[in-house]
C-alpha cells in the first residue's frame, strides 16, 4: 500500500496519530500537498460521508475521523497556502448568535474541507452583521448557519433576513443543527438544509453548482 493509501485509511478509521505521522511521511517522500489532499484526504472524507449516509457509521465514528482529518490538514494548510493552492469554492460557516455549540458545525466544516471547499469558520455566537461583513470580505458562494438550541432558531431567522436585506453579493444559504428541519429551512427562506454532515456535503455541491 502506498503512503497515500495508508493515510486515506487512517483518516477514515479515525486514527489521528497515524494520520499525522503518515501526512508527514508523505511530505517527506516528496508528495505535493495538493496531491495529498486530492488523492488521500478527499477520498477518505468522501468514503466517510458515504458510509455515514448508508448507516454504516454513526456520529461518534464520524467525529473521530474528522479529528484525524484535521490533524492532517493542520500540517498541510500552511503549505497549501504557500503554494498558492486555493480550492475553487469558498464557504463561510458559523453558529448563530446566542448559541455556543460548535461540535456539529466543526464537523460540517471538516467535511466541506474534505470536499475541497475553502472554509472560513466564523466560530460561535456570530451576530448577523458579522456574517454580512464576512460575506463582503471573503465573497463565498455558500454560507452555512448552525443552531443547536430551540431558543436560537429565531436568531437563525434573523441572520437569513439580515443577509438577504444587506445587499451583499449573492450567496446560497444552508442551515442545519439538531432542532432544524427542512420545513423550517423553507419557511425562513434558506436555500438548503442538511440533517447531518454527510448530506451537508451533497447539498453544498448542489448549491454551488458543482454537480
Amino acid at each position: 500500500m502506498t503512503t497515500l493509501e495508508q493515510l486515506s485509511q487512517a483518516v477514515a478509521a479515525g486514527k489521528s496519530k497515524d494520520a499525522k505521522a503518515l501526512t508527514q511521511r508523505a511530505l517527506d517522500e516528496g508528495v505535493k500537498p495538493g496531491r495529498l489532499v486530492d488523492e488521500a484526504l478527499v477520498p477518505a472524507m468522501a468514503a466517510v460521508g458515504e458510509r455515514f449516509k448508508n448507516n454504516e457509521i454513526f456520529v461518534p465514528e464520524m467525529l473521530v475521523a474528522a479529528r484525524a482529518m484535521k490533524e492532517a490538514m493542520n500540517l498541510l494548510e500552511p503549505r497549501l497556502l504557500a503554494a498558492g493552492i486555493t480550492p475553487k469554492y469558498t464557504a463561510l460557516i458559523g453558529t448563530v448568535q446566542g448559541d455556543l455549540h460548535d461540535i456539529g458545525k466543526n464537523l460540517v466544516a471538516v467535511m466541506w474541507r474534505g470536499a475541497n471547499f475553502r472554509v472560513v469558520d466564523l466560530g460561535t455566537n456570530v451576530p448577523p452583521a458579522k456574517f454580512v461583513a464576512a460575506i463582503n470580505e471573503h465573497r463565498p458562494q455558500l454560507i452555512g448557519l448552525s443552531a443547536l438550541l430551540t431558543t436560537t432558531m429565531p436568531a437563525m431567522v434573523e441572520t437569513v433576513r439580515t443577509i438577504r436585506a444587506s445587499g451583499c453579493p449573492a450567496v446560497k444559504i444552508m442551515v442545519g443543527g439538531a432542532p432544524i428541519s427542512q420545513q423550517f429551512a423553507e419557511e425562513i427562506g434558506a436555500d438548503g438544509y442538511a440533517s447531518d454532515a454527510g448530506s451537508a456535503v451533497d447539498r453544498a455541491r448542489e448549491l454551488v453548482g458543482a454537480i
Partner: protein
C-alpha cells in the same frame, strides 16, 4: 358546531370508543383531542414532532399530517402532527409508553451527610402553626414533603409528574414556550395550580393536618423551575450569555406564589442558585451531602437531561453544567422509556446471552428500556465483546446470537434482549445516541477536574445525586465510562438531595445561610470556553 368524531381506541388495558371534539379550523391535533378527552399522551417535546413520545398505531382509517401528508392504515403516526380524517371505523392503538398517565418513579429518599438541629426556619406555634413543606420542583417530577416542625420528621410525602411536561419535555423547550404570549401564565398554572396545589392538599389530607397549620415552606429546584414558579420571564436564559433574572434566596408568601391551600401569609423560601444551569437543587444537594465542608476533593454529580457537577477542592467550589440530552430518559431511543412501571430497569448478563431482565413492577409486560438498563447494556455488551469500542455491534458476535434475538434494518444491527419481546430491542443508532449523552457527562466531569489539576483517582467521594443515579448500577456506570476512571468505593449514591436540602433548610435555620454562602462562593466554569472540552468529548464517545 360540527358533530364529534367517534373513533375506536385500543388501549394497553382494553378497547373503548371515544368521541373526539371535531376540529377542522383551529389546528388542533389528535394529541390535543385525546388530551381534551382526558387521555393525554406523552407529548414531551412540546408537540413539535421531534420525539416519538406520542406515537400511536393507525389500525384503520386515514391520518392527515399537518405538513400536508396523508397516511393510510396501517401506519405509525405522531399524534401531535396531524388529525384523523373523518370516517367510520377509524381505529388507533395506543401503546403504554405513549401514555402520559404512567406514575413516575420518584425519589423521595435522600442521604444526609451533616448533623442538623430542629430549630425551624419559620416561627412555630405548637398545635396551631407547626407543620412545614419541603418542596423539590424537578423538570420531570415534583415532590412535596409535609414536615412536623416540632420533631423535624417528615410525616407525609406525595409526588407526581410536573404537569409542565405536557407543554414541553426539557427546560429549554419550556424557556422557549415562555416567550410566546400568555404561555408564561400557562406554565405557571401548570406548576402552581395543577401540580403543587393537589400535592399540598394531598399531603395535608393524608396526614390529617389542617392546612391552616402550615407555617412555612422551602423550595428547591433548577433555576428555570423557580422562574416559572414565580411567573418570571426565563427567556434570557435560553440564549448566550444565559442570564437568570434572579438567583438569590427569596422569601415570598403562599399568596405571592398563588397557592390557595396554605394560609396566604405563609412564608415560602426559594433556595439560592448558582447560575442559569446550576440551580438551587444543586446548592441544596451541596449542603445536604456536606460537600461544602469536604476537606479532601469531592464531587456532587446529578445526571438528568442536563448534568450538573460541583467540585469542592481546597475550599473552592467549582460548578458546571453539561448537556446530556434525553437519551438517559429514554428519549429518541427505539424502545426507550422513562423509569415507569413495566420498564426494564436492569440487564444482567451472567456470563451468557440472553441476559436476565429486572422490571419496574406495576404493569403487565414490558413497556421498554429505561436509562439504567441501557447503561448496563453498554458496560456488559462491551465486556462480552458484543459491542465494539466504537459502539457498533460486533458482526461476528451478533452472528452467533439466536436468530430471534437478532434484528437488522438495512445494514444496521440490533439486539432483542428478550427473544419474545420487541420492547427490549437495542439498535446501533440507540447506542450512538447513548454514547453522545455519556460522553457529554464524562467530558464535563473530566474537564472540571482538569481545571483544578485533579484526576478521578484524587477524588475522595463522588456524591451521585438524583433519580437516575439512584437507579444506576454504579459499577456499570464506571465500566461504560459514564463515570470515567472512578472506583466503586468512591461513589456514594445519595438520592434526592435537592429535597434533602430543602428539608434541612426548613428544620434547621442555620442551613440557609450556609446555602447562601455556598451559592455566592461558587465559581462557574463554562465548558464551551474550556479549550480541551471538544477533544475530551470525542475521546469519551468510545466505550472503554
Amino acid at each position: 358546531m360540527s358533530r364529534p368524531q367517534s373513533i375506536h381506541v385500543q388501549w394497553p388495558d382494553g378497547a373503548s370508543t371515544l368521541a373526539l371534539r371535531a376540529v377542522h379550523h383551529d389546528g388542533a391535533t389528535l394529541a390535543d383531542q385525546l388530551a381534551e378527552a382526558g387521555r393525554p399522551l406523552n407529548t414531551r417535546c412540546g408537540r413539535h414532532g421531534r420525539c416519538a413520545g406520542c406515537t400511536v398505531e393507525l389500525v384503520a382509517g386515514r391520518f392527515l399530517g399537518r405538513d400536508g401528508t396523508e397516511h393510510a392504515a396501517p401506519a405509525e403516526i405522531k399524534a401531535c402532527q396531524g388529525r384523523l380524517a373523518p370516517g367510520a371505523d377509524t381505529t388507533i392503538a395506543v401503546p403504554a409508553r405513549s401514555l402520559a398517565t404512567h406514575r413516575p418513579q420518584v425519589v423521595t429518599t435522600f442521604k444526609v451527610g451533616v448533623p442538623a438541629a430542629t430549630e425551624p426556619l419559620v416561627p412555630v406555634v405548637p398545635g396551631e402553626s407547626d407543620h412545614g413543606l419541603a418542596i423539590d420542583i424537578g423538570t420531570t417530577t415534583v415532590v412535596v414533603s409535609l414536615v412536623d416542625l416540632r420533631s423535624g420528621n417528615i410525616v407525609r410525602e406525595e409526588a407526581s409528574f410536573n404537569r409542565q411536561i405536557e407543554l414541553g419535555d426539557d427546560v429549554v423547550t419550556r424557556i422557549q414556550l415562555a416567550g410566546v404570549p400568555d404561555k408564561l401564565d400557562v406554565l405557571r398554572d401548570a406548576i402552581v395550580g395543577r401540580t403543587l396545589a393537589p400535592l399540598i392538599a394531598g399531603v395535608c389530607a393524608g396526614a390529617a393536618i389542617a392546612p391552616e397549620r402550615l407555617a412555612g415552606a422551602t423550595v428547591a429546584g433548577n433555576t428555570t423551575m423557580l422562574h416559572l414558579l414565580t411567573g418570571t420571564d426565563p427567556t434570557p436564559m435560553g440564549v448566550a450569555p444565559f442570564c437568570a433574572a434572579f438567583l438569590e434566596h427569596r422569601q415570598l408568601t403562599a399568596a405571592n406564589i398563588g397557592l390557595s391551600t396554605p394560609p396566604p401569609a405563609m412564608p415560602v423560601h426559594l433556595l439560592p442558585g448558582i447560575s442559569a444551569y446550576v440551580g438551587a437543587d444543586l446548592v441544596a444537594g451541596c449542603v445536604c451531602t456536606g460537600l461544602n465542608h469536604c476537606a479532601e476533593p469531592s464531587l456532587l454529580v446529578d445526571i438528568g437531561t442536563n448534568g450538573e457537577i460541583l467540585l469542592m477542592h481546597r475550599g473552592r467550589l467549582l460548578a458546571t453544567a453539561t448537556a446530556a440530552g434525553p437519551a438517559f430518559e429514554g428519549g429518541r431511543l427505539a424502545r426507550g422509556t422513562r423509569a415507569v412501571a413495566g420498564a426494564v430497569a436492569h440487564v444482567r448478563f451472567d456470563g451468557e446471552f440472553p441476559p436476565a431482565l429486572d422490571l419496574i413492577p406495576g404493569a403487565n409486560g414490558i413497556v421498554g428500556l429505561c436509562g439504567s438498563a441501557y447503561v448496563d447494556f453498554l458496560a456488559q455488551g462491551r465486556r462480552i465483546s458484543l459491542l465494539e469500542p466504537t459502539g457498533r455491534i460486533s458482526p461476528s458476535a451478533w452472528q452467533t446470537l439466536p436468530a430471534v434475538h437478532r434484528h437488522h434494518r438495512d445494514i444496521t444491527r440490533g439486539v432483542r434482549l428478550n427473544a419474545q419481546n420487541d420492547a427490549t430491542l437495542v439498535t446501533e443508532a440507540d447506542v450512538a445516541h447513548l454514547l453522545q449523552a455519556k460522553a457529554a457527562i464524562a467530558a464535563g466531569i473530566v474537564t472540571l477536574l482538569r481545571r483544578a489539576g485533579l484526576a478521578p483517582a484524587d477524588i475522595r467521594t463522588l456524591y451521585l445525586a438524583g433519580g437516575f443515579g439512584l437507579h444506576l448500577d454504579v459499577a456499570h456506570a464506571i465500566e461504560s465510562g459514564l463515570l470515567p476512571g472512578f472506583r466503586p468505593e468512591q461513589i456514594d449514591v445519595v438520592g434526592n438531595t435537592a429535597l434533602g436540602g430543602a428539608w434541612l433548610a426548613l428544620i434547621d435555620r442555620t442551613v440557609l445561610p450556609e446555602m447562601i454562602a455556598a451559592s455566592t462562593a461558587a465559581e462557574v466554569v463554562e465548558l464551551n470556553l474550556e479549550p480541551g472540552f471538544e477533544d475530551t468529548f470525542i475521546d469519551h464517545l468510545a466505550l472503554p
